[in-house]
Structures are given as C-alpha cells and as structure tokens.
Subunit: 345 residues, 2 copies
Amino acid sequence: MKKGCPYGTHRVIEPIGVLPQTAVKIDNSMEIYDNEILIDVKTLNIDSASFTQIEEQAGGDEAKIAEIMMGIVRDRGKHQNPVTGSGGMLIGVIEKIGPALEGKIDLKVGDKIATLVSLSLTPLRIDKILNIKKDIDQVDIEGKAILFESGIYAKLPSDMPEKLALAALDVAGAPAQTAKLVKPGDYVLILGAAGKSGMLCCYEAKKRAGVTGKVIGFVRAGKEAERLKQTGFCDIVIEGDATQPVDVLNKVLEATGGRYVDISINVVNVPNTEMASILPVRDDGTVYLFSMATSFTKAALGAEGVGKDVNMIIGNGYTKGHAEITLQVLRENETLRKIFEEVYA
Amino acid sequence: MKKGCPYGTHRVIEPIGVLPQTAVKIDNSMEIYDNEILIDVKTLNIDSASFTQIEEQAGGDEAKIAEIMMGIVRDRGKHQNPVTGSGGMLIGVIEKIGPALEGKIDLKVGDKIATLVSLSLTPLRIDKILNIKKDIDQVDIEGKAILFESGIYAKLPSDMPEKLALAALDVAGAPAQTAKLVKPGDYVLILGAAGKSGMLCCYEAKKRAGVTGKVIGFVRAGKEAERLKQTGFCDIVIEGDATQPVDVLNKVLEATGGRYVDISINVVNVPNTEMASILPVRDDGTVYLFSMATSFTKAALGAEGVGKDVNMIIGNGYTKGHAEITLQVLRENETLRKIFEEVYA
Ligand SMILES: NC(=O)c1ccc[n+]([C@@H]2O[C@H](COP(=O)([O-])OP(=O)(O)OC[C@H]3O[C@@H](n4cnc5c(N)ncnc54)[C@H](OP(=O)(O)O)[C@@H]3O)[C@@H](O)[C@H]2O)c1
Ligand SMILES: NC(=O)c1ccc[n+]([C@@H]2O[C@H](COP(=O)([O-])OP(=O)(O)OC[C@H]3O[C@@H](n4cnc5c(N)ncnc54)[C@H](OP(=O)(O)O)[C@@H]3O)[C@@H](O)[C@H]2O)c1
C-alpha cells in the first residue's frame, strides 16, 4: 500500500508541489493510501456562495445544476467551484481506514461522519446525483470521497437530526470565532445576520457581549428582520443593503447614537460588502470577514483609502472545538434549534 | 461653506451611494468643502502598472502620454487609469485647509506633503503637464487636488531625498504592522524578505523580536540571499520557492530545529503563497498577509483544510504612524538606507 503525505500532496496532479486545495486537478481514484480514509458519501452540503453561483449559471434548472456539478468534479477531481473557489462539506459512512491510521483515531468502519474540511480539497467521485435540495444547498448523491490524515471531521451526534447537525457544522467556524473574539461590553455588528451563520453568530455574540454590550443585526428584507427579531439575540435589527457602505454606516451610527462598533462580522453571501464591514468599526477595532465572496484587495486597499486602522481577519473555517461549540448552541437554545429544524432539516 | 462627508461621498457623481474609489466619476471642482484640504500639486507619482499601460498606449510619445493623462482626469475627475483601475500618489504643497479641520490636524498652509491615499479616489485638476519622467513614473504638473478628511498623508522629511522617502512610503503599511505584531522572543518568518517591503519588515521584526527571538528570511535566489545576509537583520536566511508550501515548511523546521514560528509575514509579489505562510506557523500563531496577490478563499479554506488554528490578518495599507515608523527605519539604519538609495532613488 502506498504511503501518503498528511496534507494529501500525493494526490495533486497539477501543479506539482502545491497542496490539494490550491491544485487545479487532484487524483480522485478511490484506492486508498496507507494514511487515508475512504468515505461512502451520502450528501454534499455545497457552500452557499458556490451554490448560489451554480444555481444562477443554471438559471435554476435542476438538470443543469447536476450537469455543472458533475462537470466540476470531472475536471478537477474535487467539488471546487471554479468561480468562487469554494467547496462545502459532506456526510458519509466510513468504508475503509488506512493501516497507518488504525487505532490512532476515534473512528471505525460504519461510523457516520461529517467532514469539516472543504470539498475544495477533498478527492471526490460522484456516481449519481439523487436529489437536489435548492432551498438548503444540499445534494444527495451516490459516490465516494477521501479524507486525508490532516483532515478534520465530526461524528454525527445522536441527539439531533443529521441534516440539522450538518447545516450547523457547515458554518461551525463562524460562531466559534465569534465566541473567541467578542468581549463583554462590545458593540458587535453582524452583516447577513438572519442567515445560517448569521443567527449562530448573533447568539454567540450576545452571549459574550452580555448586558453591557450591543449586538446589531443587519439584514436585507422585512421577512428576515422579523425572524431575527423573534430570536431575541439582537439588541438592534437594521434593514438595508450591505453593498451600500455609507448607508450602512449611517444606519448603524443612528442606531447606536453615534458610537462606532468594536467588531463587525461579515456573513453575507454576495460580493462588494467589504467597505460596509470596515466603515462602521472604531479605530483599532476588528473586522471579521467570514464571507467567501470577500475580495482581499478590496478590503486591503479599501481600508487604506479611508485611513481606517482596523484589524481585518480572514475567517478561518477551523478553530479548536468549533464543532462542539456550534452543536452546543443548538442544544442550548430552543428558538434557534426550532428555526434550524424548520429551515434546514 | 458646504459640509462634506469624511469619506468624500459628497463628491461622487456616478454611481450614487458608493465611495470615491469605486465611483466612475467624481466632482473635481476646486472650491473646498468645510472638511477638505486643497493641495497645490507639484508631482504625480503614477502607479507603475498604470504608467506602463499609458506609455504603451501612447507608443512612448510624451505629448500623447500627456494627452491621455489629461483625458483621464477630464472624464473621471481623478487619475484612475480605466484599464488598470489603479492610481498612484502625489506630492504637493498645502494651499487651503477647511475650517472644520483647522487646529485639529498637524498641517499648515505651505507644508509639503505626499498623499498616502490612492490617486484613484483623489479629486484632481491638471492645468498643465510640465515634465514627464518616464524612468521613474513621475510627472511634474501644475494643478490642484483635494484631500478628504479621512485621507492620509505624510509631511516630506527634510533629511532625505524626496524619491527615497516616496519609495519607502509606498510600502509603509508592512513595516509598521510588523512593529505592532512582533513581540520579544518571537520566531518570525518573512516570505519575500529581500524585496522592498521585505527588508523593512526584517529590520522591524529583528528590532522587536530581540536577542531571544529569531527572524527567518525566506528569499528566492542566491543574489537576493547575499544582499539580505549583508544587512544582518535575519538570524537565518533560507532560499526556496514560496509557492511550494511543504518544501517551505520542511526548510523552516530544519532551520529552527523543529520549532514552528509564532508569526509569518508574506510580502511576496506572486500568487499561490498562502499555504507557505500558513503551514510553518504554530497553533494560535499569526499569519500576516501583505501581498496583493493573496487570495481570500485560498487562505480561509486552506487553513481549514489542514486543520490549522491560526489568526490570518489582511495587510491593511494603513496603520497609525506608518509613515513615521517607515521613514525612521531609513534614518536609523545606514545599511538599509544605502540599499534603498542604490535601488530606488
Ligand atoms: N470561512 C468559512 O470557512 C466559511 C464556511 C461556511 C460559509 N462561509 C461563508 O459565509 C457566508 C454566509 O454563509 P451562510 O451559510 O450563513 O449563508 P446564508 O444562510 O445564505 O446567509 C447569507 C445572508 O446574507 C444576506 N444578504 C445577501 N445579500 C445581502 C445584502 N446585499 N445586504 C444584506 N444582507 C444580504 C442573505 O439575505 P437574503 O436571504 O435576503 O439573500 C442571507 O441572510 C457565505 O459567503 C459562505 O461562503 C464561510
Ligand atoms: N497591503 C498594502 O497596502 C500594500 C502596499 C504596497 C505593496 N503591497 C504588496 O506587497 C508585496 C510586495 O511589495 P514590494 O514592493 O515589497 O515588492 P518587491 O520589492 O518586488 O518584493 C517581492 C519579493 O518577493 C520575492 N518573490 C517573488 N516570488 C517569489 C517566490 N516564488 N518565492 C520566494 N520569493 C519570491 C521577490 O523576489 P524576486 O526579485 O526574485 O522576484 C521579491 O524579493 C506586493 O504584492 C505588493 O502588492 C501591499
């Protein structure tokens, strides 16, 4: 049996020397190396930015969506959207564990897991697309995938429906990072607050900011505002368009009585929202960019252009304990669990 | 006198609601608002990518270059190259300060400054083009410009040539951020260490990390390695290719005796170096991405993909005191000043 690199570089076809995520094409043959795990895939949970792009390109047509998805995997050996660069995650059952890993990890054949590394670096083969759930960006398939030694995963919990766990785990990085960043008394602005990561972030932000802090949820439309208000996680809910930075700034300042926020968290799923995340933040404050539609140059040059000395953080999808923190939110909070069950499960 | 928005949106003609940098056309009439500064412009320092494009379009002809430049400013109200999207910076003398700013800033009429915000957002009027210096992308003009309240600038120092100051100010963000980030005892990896920002960062990093820390300069080729070694800023100089992350990781660990670094700083000017910045950093360490070739998604998904819990920061071109910090480096260090004089002035 062949020996693999912990990061999966042994599967990179092009260009040589890079990691699987950077690669244009990786080897998706399903014969495992000594330190790999073979997964029998049940469901793909496509990244929201990616799914939105694919859906638009397909004009909403399901057969076209399926065709585009099959095409991506055929070309690249992984489900990495060539436009957005992003992937998603999957649910599957452990089919085989490489001998170099056996006994060293807490998995056995037959366990049902969600992978917590992006599909953008996961060797994947799709044999058949069974069902496309457009409203929740999930696609049931027949197929196989490979998890590398450095790959992270979560065993699906037994106390909640699978799809519920998956929906939450998909964005586990955001609430866990929010929990680390927000301090008591902070004013926190969350753009895209009624979305999936948005609501989890609002909950964590309120928990950490406490009574002396304020959580400000920014959402697009009336219906979303209602839903968010019902949760009670936000002190203030603002409606508007996150692509209009000065309008966002003015609305925030009006709501806070002129105080700039300490932290903004961007969990919107459309481009051109960098400046709306930067302008409302105080000097030396933090801008946490979780949206995959973020442009590095727009953020870097944009902040310079308005002389804003803010700390701009790239939303790392991983932080220690992120799966546990996120599942715990759904256990702790009845309201959020209900909303997640209605919408995503 | 009319009241202006700090970010200059009051001058945006089209499209409404965006910031001046994003705007297609801004108002360049030279009657100032209450919070604006009027500058008597002496020299435009055109962004290198922009100047190259204009020069090519003009077939190298100076009269044609002048015509194209006048045309850009006539159409847009600012010198934002419609092909490259970029601007540059300017040198000029303060002519008038809006009453809302007077006494609040450290400028007086007659001061000579360099603007540190891009020409791509600066209202500009060119009355006459006096002299085009093709070899250094500089154009002497008669004209006026407006600096917004949020715009940043540096007073030109009297103790060094203007061109030397400009070269350093161009990348002022990187060494200033390095100064803020690096703590005594830190192991710091600098990728692209022999470049313009690279050498400034190495100097600042060594100053802050001190005798108990280590600065590791990563460079591409033999000649650059020599130049960097001569400065004495780095404890270790490694040669290699920053687009090969696993190779970079192995070389760094070999050099440190297996210790991961606390901070990596990326000042390379080519794409696909995100993972080389991420892999060598310890858990909870910091990855500071200054390169404009950085991809947001490659960094975010890449770190997640290998389960790395690191803090990834977008290199903000601005931080408080960045101009002073950077000019001070050239004053403090003879070696660096000599290299900068030879190469850039
Ligand atoms: N860093 C990571 O590892 C990671 C992991 C997972 C996801 N993400 C990213 O996080 C983002 C959010 O993901 P999600 O699953 O939470 O998506 P989501 O549920 O679709 O939420 C996005 C929210 O943004 C709102 N929005 C869209 N355009 C807006 C605008 N112009 N103004 C105000 N609000 C607007 C949406 O409102 P409407 O419903 O009205 O459109 C929606 O509520 C995505 O970009 C995704 O790629 C990152
Ligand atoms: N965030 C901001 O506001 C801001 C402001 C200014 C500049 N920047 C960015 O900072 C970066 C550096 O700017 P600079 O003026 O310092 O550029 P520079 O002087 O050209 O330095 C870049 C260095 O990277 C090295 N390099 C290129 N490819 C490499 C590879 N594969 N492996 C190892 N080293 C490699 C270059 O070596 P060779 O000479 O051998 O190619 C050079 O020494 C640019 O991307 C620029 O856009 C950002």
